[in-house]
Symmetry: C2
Subunit: 279 residues, 2 copies
């Protein structure tokens, strides 16, 4: 049996696979959300930084984060897997274990995909998610409060450490995104929120993005906060009407989510400089 066949076997045995075997899979997904993210060696990660299990887990999380940002619950995934030719069976099994762990945590079924052998390890994950009311980026109102979840800044620090050849904690968000509570929180606060997105490129960049889309300024209280430059944070930036502030804080406490109110939406446009600082 070759590496690809072993991979498919391990995946089938992981219990997170459903409906594979035909050219395609039939799903009843009326009004579903679709997203695709690549997670590639040399681009998004180096193999020294992450174990195979961490790579599998994080590849799924990158997509789950997009789903959370839309207030949608992940349901199905299709997996495009390029395994490196020299990959040992034990490494491949670790990779599957990481994928399966994320699938179990977020109740995702893998319903299809394709595998191939290549130079580098590369994953393409298509995620199908359901939402009763998807959260968009374009519904901000003037006077909305801007609030982000969690603590920003650590991802950039950890990336810098890794790039310098250092080690970071396996609990680092950069290694292991923490999305479980965030999904529950987001689904529960959806009715309170006008707009939102995940902080992929740093808070300043996301404020510029929202500003442009909504033709409103995202006025931050502390625009020079260095933590606002840190990307890949797996946290959310939300805009809410001021009257929902207390309700939001209550839900955050229930779901063990930290909130930071950082600014307000106003007339105008934002032009922050989302340039990464050099330590």
């Amino acid at each position: 049996m070759d590496l690809e066949a072993h991979f498919l076997n391990a995946l089938a045995q992981s219990g997170v696979v459903w409906g594979l075997g035909d050219d395609a899979v039939l799903l009843d997904t009326s009004q579903a959300l679709y997203m695709l993210d690549l997670f590639s060696e040399g681009v998004h990660f180096k193999r020294e930084w992450l174990s195979y299990a961490q790579i599998g887990y994080k590849a799924m999380c990158v997509n789950v984060s997009d789903s959370i940002a839309m207030a949608a619950c992940p349901k199905y995934a299709l997996l495009g897997m390029q395994l490196p030719k020299g990959c040992a069976l034990s490494e491949m099994r670790q990779l599957v274990a990481g994928i399966a762990k994320a699938c179990q945590e977020f109740k995702i079924k893998i319903v299809g995909g394709d595998t191939t052998l290549g130079k580098d390890l590369s994953l393409s994950v298509t995620l199908i998610a359901k939402s009763s009311k998807p959260l968009e980026r374009t519904k901000i109102h003037p006077k909305d409060l801007l609030v982000h979840t969690g603590t920003l800044g650590q991802s950039y620090k950890d990336l810098t450490t890794l790039l310098r050849g250092g080690k970071v904690s396996p609990k680092s968000k950069f290694i292991r995104p923490q999305l479980k509570n965030l999904l529950g929180f987001m689904l529960s606060v959806r009715p309170l929120v006008h707009a939102g997105l995940d902080i992929s490129d740093g808070l300043l960049a996301e404020c510029n993005r929202l500003s442009k889309l909504n033709k409103l300024a995202c006025k931050l209280d502390k625009p020079h906060n260095k933590a606002y430059l840190s990307g890949e944070e797996y946290e959310l930036l939300l805009s809410i009407p001021p009257k929902h502030k207390l309700a939001l804080l209550r839900r955050a406490k229930q779901h063990r989510i930290k909130l930071n109110f950082v600014g307000v939406a106003r007339r105008g446009l934002s032009h922050y400089r989302p340039k990464i600082w050099h330590a």
Copy 2:
């Protein structure tokens, strides 16, 4: 503007993109079919063999072929694109033109995706297709006639020529799959057909596959035909009840599809040796 931004611009201007810009796209796809195929340099093609336009076109066709095999009409695609770092803008535009050409031909809208830069050119295409009654692989009846579309054998010959450093016609199925008529034919004959699949790994290998799935033998009249070893044929193998033979031939003529009746389903199991011969 960097290569990725140029790529997204070119794609947006191609007219085949819809609904991009958010973290995900919302589609009404109740009872849809999903499939993902990878198309990677060094694995599925060499850059010397295909122009960028041909690569873009063929990457889409690989998926369209799966859709046809299920008697489904392609509707939407998500595109995971790894562009090679040294890719010239003109080459990238050719790639988009090839993708757009296939999308226009098969009325596919690109609704999402992800791009990155890497060493090699690699595409991951997720296709969403609709079918009123998807064709499966497991519904063969004893005494069904086995029939394939088109002429087999050329793909392997062309691949051999390319591997030897030779040139093949740009009209070769290996370079430019011909799927337009096949899609129309397949949708029109769906009610006549019990089961089917596309001939990816050669007719003998597909007969073994169908035999195993259906616990029936696929008895070929000329099992030693070398053309039955040729894979990547972009043709279909179908099983039909004998009473529908004439109706099938009539539809084939209307859609300009050549049919070859090659065998019959019987009790037993098939164990053909789908080994590639050496010229």
